[in-house]
Amino acid sequence: MSDPKNHSAEAALAALKELQHEIQESVLDSIEAVDEYRIRFLSRKQGQITALLKRIPEVANEHKKHFGQEINAAKALVEARIESATVQFSAGEESSGPVPDLTLPGRVAAKGSLHPITQALRLITRVFESYGFEVAEGPEIEDDWHNFSALNFPPDHPARDMQDTFFIEAPSHVHSGILLRTHTSPVQIRVMENKKPPIRVIVPGRVYRNEAISYKSYCLFHQVEGLYIDEGVTMANLKQIIHAFARTMFGENVKMRFRPSFFPFTEPSAEVDIWWEDANLPDGGRWMEIMGCGMVDPNVLEGLGIDSEKYTGYAFGMGIERISMLRFGIEDIRILYENDVRFLEQFS
């Protein structure tokens, strides 16, 4: 009755059953415990599962399959427990020592920030880029030709008084002279010198005005100008793009008005005001000028060899300081150039 192989298989299965409990319940709470566990069951020389595997040939053929499955399942379980415990320990020294005081502040990292002028400029640029404008730049030291004459400022004309100018070299003859640009419009001329319509560009940059420094004016500021030259461009198009801009900067319901003005390089020319709510004022607010604009004067186009009968265009220009002061509620322009960290950190 007793086939020694059957007997051997029964004994092996019984031995395996005995191990099951320990395989499942052994506490694996440290790397050492995991090592011990692995050696106990899987080590080549002393491992108990390894020993059982070696006993497979002793088992009767009809039991071999069942025994083999059982022992392999036990082995897989051991491996899985080792795997999960190892992952747990390798993720950190979780168990070594007490948990630190987590209420201590974090290690201080230095905080940086972008200047409010940069932030305003980015916002402005993004609006116009989304309407298909390119961005161009040009020099701060300019010649009279690009800054004035090519923009239809006649020599000895009061229009030149509209922009108090820092001169670098006195003019030796008409259209000569070198100066600090008073606006970024000369870059428009430089763009048109090098490019044929359609031209759709904005020009950001630093400009200089020889004005007394006060809370509302500084010897320099930053401008963004825009230019669009193409067939069929009208003032209606100009109004639309400016309105789109104003809504982005000052809200969907911004109240805006265009009123006639004068710039030598545009005709008709306009200034754009937005209604600035201020409960302290008798009218509940006031009109604030945000930019100048107009249709590019035919003299400017013809001077650059652009057929003013075929092409029309608009141009606009605004002060970034003015826009950022409105947006951020800054009342004194000088604080923008003082760079006090207590000011800068508010724009992080």
């Binding site: 980015r122 961005v135 000895d156 009061p158 820092f166 670098i168 004005e211 007394a212 320099l220 008709p268």
Partner: protein, 826 residues
């Protein structure tokens, strides 16, 4: 320019309130900057008669007056004005009256004050004897206002004023006049636009204009030697005037618009200028030698004393008015002291001329003297308005100053005005403005402002428009289109519902994208962005025009401005460093000790280079980083650490890698007094910037108390090298493992590590992928003349590296180190 609403009402009955008027003017291109209400209803102010005056017993400057105000008993009033005297008719603010009085804190601001029964230094006072400014009538506070003797005692002051043509209240509207609107620098000019906007008619005072010649032409001779600078000179003679104060109504008008009344003759010339825009000059005719006026330009430098008693140097070519013997006025700018109207003047020659705008502007600029007259002449006055203005003034002198008009007039007119015509196409209006305006409407709009229109063609609609003489700015079709658009109203131009975008591909500027990216990288690395002034004192610019810094490397001069605001801002910066040091000093003084700052900006050099766009100037973009004080903060985890050069070096490496610039090298900078030590940054052989510790002598003037490191990069050069980089192509990642080897070598103690890294990189090719320095040691255990440097080397290839491949590469490196630096494996 300020206009008075009362004065404007003399010429047009527009029916608008002051605010409505201001709004309409603004929206037609005459921007109103402020509307100021003047005067008051004067309720409670009555005419009084000063019956007696005695000194105040307790105050030297005060007197106690008894004033009859038509009541049963006279009022006792304490008065501080020295000019008060018995027998005077005065304006008395009785108890309960509210007056707008200047505040004590700021006399230019007024606040309402109610008159109360008061005791002043022990004397009862029942009201106030008023000065004209206390009544809101402007100006003079030197004493009380003395009224006409005919004023009925006890009647209201309002009645007194209106009986004399003055108004109770007025509005001063300040209009900012653009240079293209010389026609609008007068009340009649403004009235013209108001008429066009409202449809009301302009009524111009009627003036009899005599024929040229007559007695006047026998007494006055006018010759014009420079007809290109003076196309017309009209003279009218008024004799036997009595110099006196102007009547109240005229003084009030002039005061409202911000002029100080002087005497009747001067006031009349100002009044007429502000009425019609034609500047006038009144000569004391008895001071005009030979009754002769000669208009000519000076030859050579001339000195001349103007009527403000200032001696002025006139450049050659200045247009002057001369009499038979000498200069008597600077044409169109200011008269001379030698011929001005004085209290003794009896005979007046009125000058009304047209001077060339450019010439007047040049003279006014050269003399730095702008007057009401030059302001108008340089913009271009009405070329046909001279005779009317001269006779209008003469008529007022007859009426108000008792003068007698000498029959006839002199009108020297060498260059007659020719009316300009402009062809205008209706279709072009639509093309510019973007809205269909009916042709009839266009005609109506331009006719309303004095243009004449003649149809040239009905299909397509075209006109010949004749420009009135007072609009010298209108020369072309586009100028007429602007007038149409302005009067049509910009607000009436509809916005299209869709945006027009041309079918072209906007080019993207890599330069700008890169700059924006680096801004973010730096802000993310704890740096704060600054914007500093580009203008510096020249001594600062000279000191920082160093050949160690990007712009200074051009070895040019500092760029000077010819007309600085102050010497503190007379040059353009050759470096952003001084501006940054100022910011560091400012912040340290305000308790900020750990600073990391950066800025992108232009720096300048006076030097012709291949980068020069304008003249002999080179302008490049610079990126500056500065750090002072602690780099890392002290905390519970450890001590803070002061910034050192390697902090900035690491940041610069980060920046340069972010723009994809490779082959970066650092070499010791040559000594510079601005720096304690530093390194030049190179890409290959090209210099791109410097990193350095700012010397104590350089930081001292900025009151900086901690160690300060800076880096300034030639961003133009960096952009130039990187902005045109071709698009990145993905390179397959090696599937084969890397092999790491550490190498510690002994080298001479003074040997720099940088060159060793370069040698290792070169000698390790092609298998060496990266090298880093992980340890530096000198001291115990090694030869005191040596130091140990440990390098981590990382090898890789597109195949599995065998040990002997790597061994060969390492020994090649070692051999090179041995050869170049006498290095020994440790």
């Amino acid at each position: 320019m300020i206009i008075s609403t009362n004065w404007l009402s003399d010429y047009i009955n527009h029916g608008l309130s002051a605010n409505e008027l201001a709004d309409q003017l603004t929206m037609c291109g005459l921007e109103v900057e402020s509307v100021e209400k003047l005067g008051s209803t004067f309720e409670g102010v009555v005419v009084g008669l000063v019956e007696s005056k005695r000194p105040h017993p307790n105050a030297d400057r005060l007197s106690v007056c008894m004033v009859n105000v038509g009541a049963e008993l006279p009022l006792q009033i304490v008065c501080g004005a020295s000019n008060v005297a018995p027998g005077q008719h005065v304006a008395v603010a009785t108890i309960g009256t509210t007056l707008q009085l200047p505040t004590r804190e700021d006399p230019s601001v007024t606040a309402p004050v109610v008159m109360k029964q008061a005791k002043i230094r022990g004397e009862e006072s029942s009201g106030m004897i008023c000065a004209s400014d206390e009544l809101g009538l402007g100006g003079d506070h030197s004493g009380i206002m003395v009224l006409d003797e005919t004023a009925a005692v006890g009647t209201s002051f309002v009645a007194y004023l209106s009986a004399r043509g003055s108004s109770l209240s007025d509005c001063a509207i300040d209009i900012s006049i653009t240079p293209n609107r010389p026609d609008a620098i007068s009340h009649l000019g403004i009235a013209r636009d108001v008429a066009a906007l409202t449809g009301a008619a302009v009524v111009r005072p009627s003036v009899d204009i005599p024929s040229v010649g007559g007695a006047a032409s026998e007494q006055v001779k006018i010759s014009i030697e420079a007809p290109e600078l003076c196309s017309r000179y009209t003279g009218v003679l008024v004799k036997n005037v009595v110099i006196q104060e102007s009547p109240e109504w005229m003084k009030q008008r002039l005061t409202t618009i911000g002029l100080r009344p002087r005497n009747i003759i001067v006031d009349i010339t100002n009044f007429v200028m502000y009425e019609c825009g034609q500047p006038l000059h009144a000569f004391d005719f008895d001071q005009v030698a030979g009754g002769q006026i000669i208009v000519k330009a000076t030859k050579g430098l001339t000195t001349f004393t103007t009527l403000d008693s200032k001696e002025r140097e006139l450049p050659s070519g200045t247009l002057m008015i001369c009499d038979g013997e000498r200069e008597v006025a600077i044409a169109g700018i200011m008269g001379g002291e030698n011929s001005e109207v004085t209290d003794k003047t009896t005979n007046v020659l009125i000058e009304s001329a047209y001077f060339d705008p450019s010439s007047i502007r040049r003279t006014s600029k050269a003399l730095q003297l702008q007057t009401d007259a030059s302001y108008r002449f340089e913009r271009g006055i009405d070329a046909k308005g001279q005779a009317w203005a001269a006779l209008r003034a003469a008529q007022l002198m007859v009426e108000l100053a008792g003068g007698e008009l000498v029959h006839g007039m002199v009108d020297n007119h060498p260059v007659p005005h020719v009316s300009r015509t402009v062809k205008v196409r209706a279709s072009r209006v639509g093309k510019i403005v973007g809205v269909e305006i009916a042709p009839d409407e266009m005609v109506r709009l331009v006719k309303a402002i004095g243009f004449e229109v003649r149809e040239l063609s009905s299909e397509p609609k075209e006109w010949e428009v004749t420009v009135p003489s007072f609009r010298p700015d209108v020369e072309r079709e586009i100028d007429v289109i602007e007038e149409i658009a302005r009067l049509y109203g910009f607000d009436n131009i509809p916005e299209p519902s869709h945006s027009r975008v041309p079918n072209f591909i906007p080019s993207v500027s890599n330069t700008r994208l890169q700059r924006e990216r680096i801004r973010d990288v730096l802000a993310g690395s704890g740096f704060r962005e600054t914007y500093t002034n580009s203008m510096l004192p020249s001594s600062t610019s000279e000191a920082f025009n160093s050949s160690s810094l990007p712009a200074g490397r051009f070895k040019g001069e500092v760029v000077l401005t010819l007309n600085p605001i102050t010497t503190e801002m007379s040059t353009l910066r050759p470096s952003m460093l001084p501006g940054m040091l100022k910011v560091v000093g400012h912040n340290q003084n305000h308790g900020q000790t750990a600073l990391r700052l950066f800025e992108f900006g232009r720096v300048h050099s006076k030097k012709k280079t291949n980068l020069s766009l304008v003249g002999d100037y080179t302008e490049i973009e610079s990126l500056i980083l500065i750090s002072s004080g602690n780099w890392s903060a002290q905390g519970w985890y450890g001590e803070g650490r002061e910034v050192d050069l390697f902090d900035l070096k690491g940041t610069i490496e980060l920046v340069l890698s972010a723009v994809g610039l490779s082959n970066i090298r650092f070499i010791d900078s040559k000594p510079d007094p601005l720096f304690s030590f530093g390194v030049d940054v190179l890409s290959g052989k090209r210099w791109i910037g410097t990193i350095a510790r700012v010397s104590n002598s350089a930081t001292k003037p900025y009151d900086i108390r901690s160690s300060t490191l800076m880096a300034e990069l030639d961003w133009t050069a960096i952009s130039d090298m990187t902005a045109s980089q071709s698009q990145v192509r993905y390179e397959a990642i090696s599937r084969f493992p890397v092999v790491e080897r550490d190498l510690a070598v002994l080298i001479g103690r003074d040997q720099a590590v940088g060159p060793i890294l370069e040698t290792i990189t070169r000698a390790g090719q092609p298998l060496l992928k990266a090298v880093q320095v992980f340890d530096l040691y000198e001291g115990k255990g090694i030869d005191p003349s040596k130091k140990s440097v440990a390098f981590g080397l990382r090898f890789g290839s597109d195949r599995t590296l065998r040990d002997n491949d790597v061994d060969r590469a390492v020994s090649k490196v070692l051999k090179a180190l041995e050869g170049d630096f006498d290095a020994q494996l440790r």
